[in-house]
């Protein structure tokens, strides 16, 4: 959420929190907290699929986003599309043909960077469910303020006052961009700058994933 200077990228993100395996009914569940933004994710699968929705060589992934109040609208549908495309790129869905994987994301509190929080919670939930993945992914949001400074992991007030908001999904093996969702106006140079900053921020997030999973398995070792 801090401002980073243009000469040396010093990326600071809000405080993270994560917990896995907190719900008893789903096959995998996780909760991810970035500052005040908090999301709960649940994964069911590989389970039975309706014949009309089955794909003969891959698993069918369905993402459902529930907001805290109100019915899901077009904005939630487009966020679901972004999350689904990212997950399909990293899951090895060809190992479970004619099955269904369902991901349900519940917003507990929204204080900015919601889409990247969805992506992080989804990745932890897939790991908790034991679904085979070829790489991990994480989400990073950057906001460009009116004076041109780039803010990573913005809060809701910073997002409102910014002139552009960019969210990227980065993969863990080659730090490539899996998905991008942008709003507002920005130049090509600013886009490249935000991608570089997101790639640096993703290293911290992957390190955090590793520490959480190590902590979880340390109890049974």
């Amino acid at each position: 959420m801090e401002v980073c200077s243009s000469d040396g990228f010093n990326v600071t993100l809000r405080e993270f929190g994560c917990e896995q395996c907190l719900l008893s009914r789903p096959d995998g569940s996780s909760s991810f907290i970035q500052g005040d933004t908090s999301v709960l994710a649940a994964v069911y699968g590989p389970a039975e699929v309706k014949v009309s929705k089955e794909i003969y060589d891959r698993a069918t992934l369905e993402v459902v986003i529930q907001t805290k109040v109100g019915l899901p609208s077009v904005k939630e549908r487009s966020q679901e599309q972004c999350v689904r495309e990212t997950c399909e790129a990293s899951l090895l869905s060809s190992l479970h043909p004619r099955s269904s994987l369902t991901l349900i994301l519940q917003v507990l509190h929204d204080d900015g960077s919601l889409l990247s929080c969805f992506l992080n919670a989804a990745c932890m939930a897939f790991m908790d469910a034991g679904l085979p993945m070829s790489c991990l992914f994480c989400g990073v949001t950057c906001a460009i303020a009116r004076d041109g400074q780039v803010i990573t992991d913005p809060t809701a007030t910073q997002e409102k006052e910014s002139r552009a908001l960019l969210t990227f999904a980065i993969d863990s093996t080659e730090q490539k961009v899996l998905m991008s969702s942008t709003k507002g106006s920005f130049s090509v140079h600013e886009l490249q700058e935000c991608i570089a900053i997101s790639q640096m921020a993703s290293e911290k997030i992957f390190q955090f994933y590793r520490e959480s999973v190590q902590r979880r398995y340390s109890k049974t070792l």
């Binding site: 090895l92 190992l95 993945m133 999973v213």
Partner: protein
């Protein structure tokens, strides 16, 4: 070549971690080239010359060259040769459809029971519990179960379940209970005499002398998954003293 895997045995791995096997360009004149074979178990995938981790968990090793990732999972995926507890859902013609907790129902032919012939059909109703073994289980075909082994004998497989309790645990709990000489079962033996059937699909069935004892044993098994050995022993002791 195998050393890069051996170093990581016991470490926690995440999906996307890669083990590259470096091919040496220089051939030594004194040592002969040895071919090393590594068997990749669950959680490891071969990607050309690399081995890629695809599940998060702890890397385990069994001599001489078997490596796998031990992960905690709740959802079962059918594997050939595993014995599972299934629930019969429909009887259609010559085949029973059995729910094993996977992504599709498995089929169980009525001839796959001991002593079954076309005239002598087995006594299996919808809703019965069967302990069966997977004959066919891969991602492309419908899984198929049998209740006999290769010599035609039942050998413990078949219909069971009158008077007991079926409940679900995680796959890791069942694997721990099936290990030879494991402590949870040793402690349980001293407590009450009971009958236990463990399915590799995470389903457990218990029957003890009375309904209350059955429920106590079921609760003990479910809770022993998340307890350390010390906590478990104190809990078992409390039950044995009759204070629960």
């Amino acid at each position: 070549m195998e050393s890069c895997l051996k170093v990581k045995v016991g470490a926690v791995l995440l999906p996307g971690d890669v083990f590259t096997f470096i091919k040496t360009d220089t051939i030594s004149l004194t040592e002969s080239l040895k071919e090393e074979k590594i068997i990749c178990g669950p959680g490891l995938q071969r990607n050309g010359d690399d081995v890629v981790v695809c599940k998060s968990g702890v890397l385990r090793h069994k001599n001489p060259n078997l490596y796998w990732v031990d992960s905690q999972q709740r959802r079962y995926v059918p594997v050939k040769g595993e014995s599972v507890i299934g629930i019969v859902t429909t009887k259609s013609g010559d085949v029973f459809k059995v729910d094993v907790g996977g992504s599709e129902q498995a089929s169980l032919s009525y001839l796959a029971f001991e002593g079954a012939t076309k005239r002598n059909r087995p006594n299996v109703q919808v809703g019965d519990l069967v302990y069966a073994q997977f004959l066919i289980a891969n991602k492309d075909m419908e899984p198929e179960l049998v209740c006999i082994d290769s010599s035609g004998r039942a050998n413990g497989l078949g219909v069971f379940g009158a008077g007991g309790l079926l409940f679900k645990g995680s796959l890791g709990l069942v694997r721990r209970l099936l290990m030879p000489q494991n402590e949870i079962l040793k402690d349980l033996e001293k407590l009450y005499p009971c009958e236990l059937v463990l399915g590799m699909n995470g389903r457990l069935w218990v029957r003890a002398a009375t309904v209350q004892k059955t429920l106590i044993v079921a609760n003990l098994l479910e809770s022993s998954e998340n307890m350390s050995a010390q906590q478990r022993r104190t809990l078992f002791k409390r039950v044995a003293d009759g204070n629960l």
